[in-house]
Amino acid sequence: MENVLFYIFAALTLLFAFLCVANPFSRNPVTSAMFLVLTMISMAGLFVLLQAFFLAAVQILVYAGAVMVLFLFVIMLLDIKEEERRRFSRFSIALGGVSVIGLGFILFKTIRESKAGEGLKLVAVKGSDTAALGKALFTQYLLPFEIVSVLLLVAMVGVILLSKKDLK
Amino acid sequence: MIVKRANLTLWERLFLPTLLGGLQVTGKHFIRTVFGGKAVTMQYPEQKWVVPEGYRGAPYLVRDQAGDTKCVSCQLCEFVCPPKAIKIIPPGDSSLKADRANAEKTPKEFEINMLRCIFCGFCQEVCPEEAIFLQRDYSLTGETRDEMIYNKEKLLALGGTHAGVQKWKQKLEEAKGQETFPVKD
């Protein structure tokens, strides 16, 4: 049962993600955004299968419910028309390539090093229990957590700076 | 003009006075309507509104005191009607005679589409013969669209007699008074 559901959700996630970035039927940015929402929701389904209810709920709450609404808001406010197929500069291709390789490497390494099944159990215990999740974040993973927070803070300050009309 | 707004006090900025005031007003009306039976609603089909004098409802054709059709098919109203609700078929070559002595023409057919009419009163305003008047009917109903196109007969029947001036009769008398301008009777 759970296996079947896993394959269904995984397939849906991949399908929606594909339709989000390379939809052959429509190049409408709103459609892409909606498929991204569906991707998020199917991913939340995967979290549920891992018994990580908290993560699933947060995934929907934050990504599908808030971040994507902001995306839509911006798309609609700026009135972005059909995205035309444009040429990419060499620099962006190179940058994209590097990040893909980096991500792929990390993914490959993690899968190789984790013994099958064990990783899942770890999440299962931590994810379902909010308190345990909080403890893990604030003890074991404190440094990455803080770095991410600082990153967000920097982004926020940057936005405020940019959106101020005249810099004195 | 710039209106200076007084700064709100802290108490006012808490929205509480507004809330309480709103509650008081709505509550008073609620109680008055429910328990006092003070509703102002008119139960329409049973109770009818008394139309005041000079109300501009649906436009109808009128007859003069002698019972003759006043309209002379000049088509001014057709021309002026903003939503093009009026359709007039002039007598043309047909031997249709006006029922009045001193009118040349009378419309062969005169239709007002009451679904289009906006009760603007332009037709009444423009009519040189005072033949069309906005009258008291304000609620016209029908089950088909065709039914809502009123023809000449219906308009005349609904319009009745208008006890206003009989323009041409008056002119005739005036003319008769002026010896210099002989008119046939």
């Binding site: 709103v30 909606m34 929402v37 209810f53 908290f54 709920a57 947060v58 995934q59 929907i60 709450l61 599908a64 419910g65 808030a66 609404v69 902001l70 839509l72 808001f73 609609m76 406010l77 379902s128 909010t130 | 507004t18 809330l19 709103g22 509650l23 007003v25 709505t26 009306h29 609620f30 008055r32 309507t33 429910v34 003070k38 509703a39 102002v40 609603t41 139960q43």
Partner: protein, 368 residues
Amino acid sequence: MEAIKQFFSGLSWEQEFVIFTTLKVCIVLFGAVLPIVAYAVLVERKVSAWIQDRVGPNRATPFFVKYLPVVGPILVRLGIFHPLADGLKSFLKEDFTPAHVRKVYFWIAPAIAVVPAMLALAVIPFGSKLGDQKMVIADLNVGILFTFGIISLGVYGLVLAGYASNSKFSFLGGIRSSAQMISYEIAMGMSVIPIFMLVGDLNLSKVIAYQADGAWLVFKQPIAFVIFLVAAFAETNRLPFDLPEAETELVGGYHTEYSSMKFALFFIGEYTAMIAASAMMVVLFFGGWTLPFAGLNESATTFAMGLAHIGIFVSKMLFLMVVFIWVRWMLPRFRYDQLMDLGWRRFVPLALVNIVLTAVVLWALHPK
């Protein structure tokens, strides 16, 4: 009776779960939510009429009324049959799709507006127990987060409707709703954090149990309640925050171009969201299905008690819905900048202060 008992005792745990959950979903949806929606519309019309010195709907007279001697005419005057007529009417109306809309989104937007509101009801415990069945459709241990997550999806219905309609009024309505919902979601989410700091659990049944033991949370957390209440008005697009619809400026806002059953779906969505918001408030602040006397604080042991608990819950909820309705006819609409100002500059900081305050008090009471 014996046969039925036999049948149920022969079921495995999973089968029983599936059967009872389906049963609960059907009963809650068709037996409670849709009728409440229909009659909330009636109450809305009647209350507005009474507040405005009118009589309100009092005409619909089905054929069987003439067999009811005294009650019949009274029911007709109260407009009891109007929701039936309204429902029928919305099915019979012409379903008109304007020529310039984006068809796909135009079709799915009403559905997206309804579904989340209904899903959100799934985690709400609307009673203690009937037999050995817990009166909640899904007793999740992250109940509140689930509700917030699902409710936050409801905004897509409105945004897409505004986008799909391809008209300026709808578009402005859609834009407004997206900004408004996001802003108030934050205030709403932060307002309930102190509650879970007190209760120590995200499960809604635990929240009720906590309140059954002590005072209702509305007394312990009045600030949280006020923020939640106001945010609920904004989230459900009710006056004074109905800027996405704003009849007087945007015609009908996001549903300007909709007609017939599609329009009715938006309506159902709005009122279901209202039900969900009221139910959430009952659970979080008004002790859910409990009453602090006559032993009604305990989980039900008999069938009658179970029914009484459901009755208590529903009456609390209906009371809050009347508050929703009354406020609509009491206050004028806020301006958009006032709305944003209230959300971001007043309620978010207030909610943060409330969290810190609660933490300090908790720490002072139970230092570890």
